[in-house]
Symmetry: C2
Subunit: 306 residues, 2 copies
């Protein structure tokens, strides 16, 4: 069967880890082993987050005063190259008989998506309030308070269409493991003549993964992170893991924005659009999540209780 | 017919231009128009240099002290993402009916290539002698004098094999314009188990383009730059353009290392390995170079005089 696997940014750089090259390499090595266990038996497409990598690129760009920081679409393209390279190389090591390829991926969003009016996704470095005001004025960025500090916020519009879908499908159908749609894909808007143009935005990578899985006709979508399942009563002293659910059950609850929320939404969308199963859980449990013996499974119909 | 087009780094960022995002975008727009004129009638694969882009990434990384600069293979991967994105998007604008895709590309080199003993390719920022000595000691880099200043020098090993060749061929044969092997490809060495590992090196992009063209069975290889032809007596007050030549004629002369030298070598290799024609000249003359009415044409057999 065909499985789309979405790796959380934290699978590549865990919370609090230094952003050194060899740290990323080591984390990708572990991630590749988990993916390879599935790829040995199934067609696999891999997508991934890029938050920590874009943050480092943004920090480095801010430090070098002689050239203006590049826009988010170009940083996204750089991160697709970097992360795709690491995943591809480590997957090749685990799967010596398989072709592994990385495709640059653009994802179409609507230019009048409401997200452009209400940028909400924090990105890049952390600023003091004073620095935040200066940077906002100098670059025209929206800034917002994030705890006690300030960060740039970017629009996070809905993914509508994966530009390179036909090529991804061709390569997967030919037996390759395809790494694509990194960071949710590079956000582009359609121009009147049918061409596309990059925009300053960040697409949620789980929602792009759900769209990709749906458009590829995948059987399963795995959304992998560093939490072992979706929980009710998260943050209380008695959190309750959800083992299995149908979308309708999940829609009755609110999950953390920017964290479990988009994963639950992505899982529901995939299943509501014909996908057989979406699983959410830890990277190292990937194979067991697919088998239904770990993580949270979201299915079209089930006898599950939340 | 199938044409491999190699864009010089200067096609993306001309000598002396600021490295701003919009400058690169504008240059790529012009390059895409030249490529599209050929792609409307032929199968086209596009490769490109990455010197200015890697220099900016290196400058930005040096400015941010909290994370060590990433190794050259990872900078190469970032540049393939960035430049591939710009070329792909601008080509899509020119070729609304065609699929355009960018594939991350690794190129195998020999771990005992003599270039690793004699690094000679200048890369990254310019240093004073004192700073160069400090940086060399801190990072283990080789540095060399470049005019009055110092720069890091990297090994430039021979390209031997394009890892993603089968996928490139499949996409080209399906009608897509494929952007790949950017910056000469990410240099990797083969490990005993058949896997590959990135190395700190820079492969000459023209030599990789020649290998790619040969392995794809391309009819023509175009090496595009900002000089209108290969010249004899270059730098004198009577330079003599070469309009047509066979490899044997070119081998009798020495051309500038790091500039026309590798282009002439790449053109000769392609033709000596069965390619019909290799052309060298200006980006804006691309179509006429292919037709043989501009630039320098290198062919297997000809009545040409150098």
């Amino acid at each position: 069967m065909k499985v789309v696997i979405a790796l959380g940014g934290n699978a590549l750089l865990k919370r609090g880890e230094p952003m050194e090259a060899e740290v990323q390499r080591r984390n990708v090595t572990a991630a590749a082993e988990a993916i390879a266990r599935i790829a040995r038996r199934h067609s696999v497409v891999v997508t991934h987050g890029n938050g920590p990598q874009v943050r480092l690129l943004a920090l480095q760009a801010e430090s070098y005063a002689l050239v203006q920081p590049y826009p988010l679409d170009m940083l996204g393209a750089q991160s697709e190259g970097l992360i795709g390279y690491l995943i591809e190389q480590e997957l090749m090591r685990c799967l010596p008989q398989r072709a592994v390829v990385t495709l640059l991926t653009q994802v179409v969003v609507k230019s009048d998506d409401l997200a452009f009016k209400h940028p909400a996704k924090p990105i890049g470095p952390v600023y003091s309030e004073k620095d935040a005001r200066q940077v906002a004025a100098a670059r025209g960025w929206m800034m917002a308070q994030d705890g006690s500090s300030w960060r740039r916020v970017a629009p996070s519009p809905e993914p509508l269409r994966i530009v390179e879908l036909a090529a991804i499908r061709m390569l997967v159908d030919a037996g390759a493991v395809v790494v694509c749609a990194g960071g949710g894909g590079i956000p582009v808007v359609l121009l009147p003549d049918g061409a596309v143009r990059g925009v300053e935005a960040v697409i949620d990578k789980d929602l792009s993964a759900a769209l990709l899985a749906q458009q590829l006709g995948a059987t399963a979508l795995l959304l992998l992170t560093d939490v072992d399942a979706v929980y009710l009563k998260w943050g209380t002293n008695r959190p309750e893991p959800i083992r299995e659910a149908v979308p309708g059950q999940l829609h009755q609850h609110v999950f953390a924005a920017g964290s479990m929320g988009p994963k639950v939404e992505a899982a529901c969308r995939f299943v509501e659009n014909g996908g057989q199963m979406a699983g959410i859980g830890r990277l190292e449990d990937a194979e067991r999540i697919l088998e239904g013996t770990a993580g949270t499974a979201v299915r079209q119909v089930s006898a599950a209780k939340t």
